[in-house]
């Protein structure tokens, strides 16, 4: 964790759904970053999901001190919304409806976060489920547009969506495609929703971390720790050890202007600074994207390195070298022959860190691999729906009381929106891969 100035940007975490609740609780119990402090809100549709014996059981038995932390979180940081008797039943539409109908309850808890100025709201959800995946896109859109809760147009909303394991059933991938789309675009006009969407794939992270534990909870725990590292690394370039600052606006403004604002973190942490050069750490990071992507299609990159203070002081690592290494790396590894459209590099010297940690946030990459992993299951589920009068009824097998109707036109709209987003992304990649301009001709056109 890096030191943060008192005046630096304040971050808050809003985590909706069981999986995201686990990540936030782990952050709150172990990793508190001064930029976030205790501005954490856990949302869920059922008390069962946030009962320690269920969601946090593993963490509470792992460390006895967690019980005390849980008691404090339970008091004012867990918001149970909606009237559903047993959650959203993995149905995103239920999650969305519950959030809409019980927004007043959620509003009270969000007020406790005291959002102000240019605060960043980091929104977490798993994409396979119903509660978080359903409610969070709605909430981002609602908070952004509603006066009184946030500074309209000034707060930034970063969303992190976790793609389910490859082996999970079709419904989860139907939810995933809908979730990604709704986080990217929402509302009647399909405007940009989250300012930046980070994607993390459970199966990919598990493979990268070499997790072999058979216990699901232990596997989640390790993945969640890695996600928390991502949050810390994103905050670091706004902290006091940063040799070059990356403002929050730098993270989202240009990607939003370009129209492609999906990213994935590539992490390489715990490198021995005696062994690793920063270029090798960078290579290692990009070999480890947290979703399956082809880095050669990435059009944007935020490259963040946290190094022990002494190695920065003795000149082993410097911002100037880091910039040059990043430039060369981008030319060689990113889309096009000039290293993508956008690149920021920030080296952070930390008194607390003993290792060289590098994170590359690659953005604007082709979503082909992610979508192709989900598409078959998406269609499997969609085609299994019984459509009557243009509507399909979704019910939870485990609890028949949970049922909701989805208008198939809405699903078509979601498909259209993701397709148009993909088309724009591919177009940007293609543009970069085009041959270089005829300089002689262009200069002539410019009057030289």
């Amino acid at each position: 964790m890096t030191d943060v100035d008192i005046d630096s940007t304040r971050w808050s975490i809003i985590a909706s759904g069981e999986g995201a609740n686990r990540i936030s609780f782990l952050y709150y119990a172990l990793h508190k970053n001064p930029a976030i402090g205790d501005r954490v809100l856990l949302l869920n549709t059922t008390t069962a999901d946030v009962k320690p014996e269920k969601t946090f059981e593993y963490m509470l038995t792992r460390d006895p001190n967690f019980q005390e932390v849980f008691d404090s979180v339970k008091r004012d940081k867990i918001c149970i919304f909606g009237k559903s008797p047993s959650g959203a039943g993995n149905n995103w539409k239920v999650g969305e409806n519950e959030a809409r109908e019980d927004f007043d309850t959620i509003r009270r808890y969000i007020s406790n976060l005291r959002l102000s100025g240019r605060d960043v709201i980091f929104c977490l959800t798993t994409l396979g489920g119903g509660t978080g995946n359903g409610s969070l896109p709605y909430l981002i859109n609602k908070i952004k547009s509603e006066r009184g809760l946030a500074s309209v147009g000034e707060n930034s909303f970063m969303a992190l969506g976790i793609i389910p394991y490859d082996f999970e059933p079709a419904q989860r991938f139907f939810n995933t495609v809908c979730g990604i789309t709704r986080l990217l675009k929402y509302g009647k006009e399909g405007k940009q929703n989250a300012d930046m969407l980070l994607l993390v794939d459970n199966s990919q992270v598990e493979k990268l971390l070499g997790i072999t534990e058979s216990s699901t909870t232990e596997r989640y725990y390790r993945i969640n720790e890695e996600i928390i590292n991502v949050v810390d690394m994103m905050i670091a370039p706004g902290g006091k050890g940063a040799k070059s600052t990356i403002d929050v606006a730098d993270y989202y403004q240009l990607p939003s202007n370009i129209g492609t604002y999906h990213f994935t973190p590539c992490m390489s942490v715990g490198n021995d600074p005696e062994i690793f050069g920063i270029d090798t750490a960078l290579d290692t990071a990009v070999d480890r994207p947290m979703t399956p992507i082809d880095p050669k299609t990435a059009t944007m990159a935020y490259i963040i390195a946290v190094a022990p203070q002494k190695y920065v002081d003795d000149g082993t690592f410097s911002q100037e070298d880091f910039e040059e290494i990043s430039r060369k790396w981008a030319i060689k590894n990113m889309a096009g022959s000039r290293g993508g459209i956008l690149r920021y590099s920030s080296l952070i010297a930390s008194d607390e860190s003993k290792t060289l940690d590098v994170m590359v946030l690659l953005g604007g990459f082709s979503l082909e691999k992610i979508i192709s992993n989900s598409l078959q299951k998406y269609y499997d589920f969609r085609e299994s729906l019984e459509v009557r009068s243009g509507e399909a009824e979704l019910a939870d097998d485990a609890d028949p009381r949970i049922r909701v109707k989805i208008n198939m036109k809405d699903i078509d709209t979601i498909e259209d929106r993701i397709k148009s987003y993909i088309a724009l992304t591919e177009e940007k990649i293609k543009q970069l891969k085009k041959k270089e301009i005829d300089m002689e001709k262009e200069l002539k056109d410019w009057g030289f």
């Binding site: 390489s268 090798t280 070999d287």
Partner: protein, 464 residues
């Protein structure tokens, strides 16, 4: 006066009461009243006489106290002024004190032996008090004037003592701290003549102690130097020291020290050079990060101490440093050897190829050879050899462990680069021990070749 007034008033009241009784009750009542008045008068007189005696005694006691205090102050001032006479002319101050004493004798406060005189009884307490205050005031003025004259003389005296101490320090005597303490005492603020005289006494005491220390040092050095030359002259100088005379003592000590330097110089220079050379070698070997910060600090301090030691008179300290060097080196050898032995158990588990990790088989014999009881030349030769072999091995072991710990992260990079271009060179991989990583990769992947710092794969490179 009050007693008479009260008595007259009492008689008048008694007569008045007598008349009243005579007129109202008759003569017999007057008779009883007269008897009662006479009885009360007798008892009252008795108590009054007793009370009056007690009161007079208190006044006399107070007078005595004032006179004793005055006498003590006079004697004390006389003594302080006398103590100052070795630095300044005190006759006029003594004369003023005598005048004050004579005046008090003339007033019959004291006799000629300055004992209390019965003549003081005739003075009231107030008069005695006035005289006491006047005397005290005059003594204070006299003291201030005397201190004003004494201060510049004392400053000169302190400067002369300081310069003597500096001469001794320059000659090589180990009195740096003594000089610091002397300077601290000399700058202590002193206002009164008594304080100034006290300061001189303290500084004289400190000077005597320092000279005694130097005499001890000179005697010890003269004894030590006997093995290296004729010390008769030095011994004579030490013998001739008369510590009551600071100037001559300092001169003798300086001459003795010069003599010692002459005798010890060659030996000191030679031993100093040898030890410096050995410490430098050990320091260079121990520059490796793996040796540990504390050991590096220790050897650095030893080198620093040696560097500041340039006086042959400090030959004993040089010898002590030699012993310290031997002990330190022996301990460092034991520590590093034990660390290496522990690491080797761990390394053997990985069954490393000899191109990645080798063990210097001579180490146990080299360590065994180091014997602290040997003379410094022989000891240093063995110790430096052992230390060098150990530190080289330690660096090899630490490097191997780092390679093993980090290989998991480097392996996919090498694999990817091989897939991309069919070869990996040092420039492709910015890591420490790059050759060893490539070699390890080639050992784990027999289809690849590692030759002339280049790793190649026979498989055709994939296009990314």
């Amino acid at each position: 006066m009050n007693e008479y007034l009260v008595t007259a008033l009492a008689i008048l009241i008694s007569i008045g009461i007598g008349f009243f009784l005579l007129l109202e009750f008759g003569v017999s009542w007057v008779g009883y009243f007269v008897i009662a008045v006479i009885s009360l008068s007798i008892i009252g007189s008795y108590f009054y006489a007793w009370w009056k005696t007690q009161s007079d005694k208190t006044v006399s006691k107070l007078k005595v106290e004032i006179l004793v205090k005055m006498k003590n102050e006079l004697l004390d001032m006389e003594k302080v002024v006398s103590s100052a006479e070795n630095l300044m002319e005190t006759a006029s101050y003594k004369q003023d004190i005598t005048l004050l004493v004579n005046n008090l004798i003339k007033l019959k406060f004291y006799n000629k032996e300055l004992k209390l005189s019965p003549g003081v009884e005739k003075y009231t307490l107030t008069f005695v008090e006035q005289q006491g205050r006047m005397t005290e005031q005059k003594l204070r003025t006299l003291g201030a004037m005397a201190a004003g004259s004494y201060r510049p003389k004392l400053d000169e005296y302190i400067d002369s003592l300081r310069s003597k101490l500096e001469r001794l320090l320059e000659a090589g005597y180990d009195i740096g701290r003594d000089l610091d303490s002397f300077n601290a005492a000399a700058t202590k603020p002193s206002k009164s003549l008594r304080d100034l005289v006290g300061k001189k006494e303290d500084l004289d005491g400190a000077m005597i102690k320092t000279l005694e220390k130097c005499v001890g040092e000179a005697t010890r050095l003269a004894t030590t130097s006997k093995d290296f030359g004729d010390t008769a002259n030095v011994e004579k100088e030490v013998k001739d020291i008369d510590q009551s005379n600071f100037e001559s003592t300092v001169s003798h000590l300086v001459t003795a020290r010069e003599g010692i330097k002459g005798i010890l110089n060659d030996t000191f220079v030679s031993q100093h050079q040898k030890l410096t050379l050995n410490v430098k070698r050990a320091q260079a070997i121990m520059a490796s990060e793996n040796v540990g910060a504390q050991k590096r600090r220790d050897i650095d301090e030893m080198r620093k101490a040696l560097g500041s030691m340039d006086d042959p008179g400090r030959i004993q300290e040089l010898k002590d440093l030699e012993v310290q060097f031997k002990t330190f080196t022996t301990n460092a050898i034991e520590d590093i050897h034990s660390k290496i032995q522990k690491m080797e158990k761990n390394i053997e588990f990985h069954k490393p190829d000899e191109r990645i990790w080798t063990l210097n088989a001579e180490i146990p014999a080299l360590v065994e050879h180091v014997d602290i009881s040997k003379k410094i030349d022989e000891f240093s030769k063995d110790a430096i050899n052992a230390l060098h072999a150990l530190v080289v091995q330690l660096d090899i072991d630490e490097a191997f462990m780092k390679i093993i710990e980090n290989y998991q992260k480097i392996e996919p990079l090498i694999k990817r680069k091989l897939e991309e271009s069919g070869k990996v060179t040092e420039d492709d991989l910015k890591v420490k021990y790059v050759e060893k990583f490539m070699l390890l990769y080639s050992l784990k992947n027999p289809e690849t070749k590692f030759k002339e710092n280049k790793l190649t794969s026979p498989k055709k490179a994939k296009k990314r």
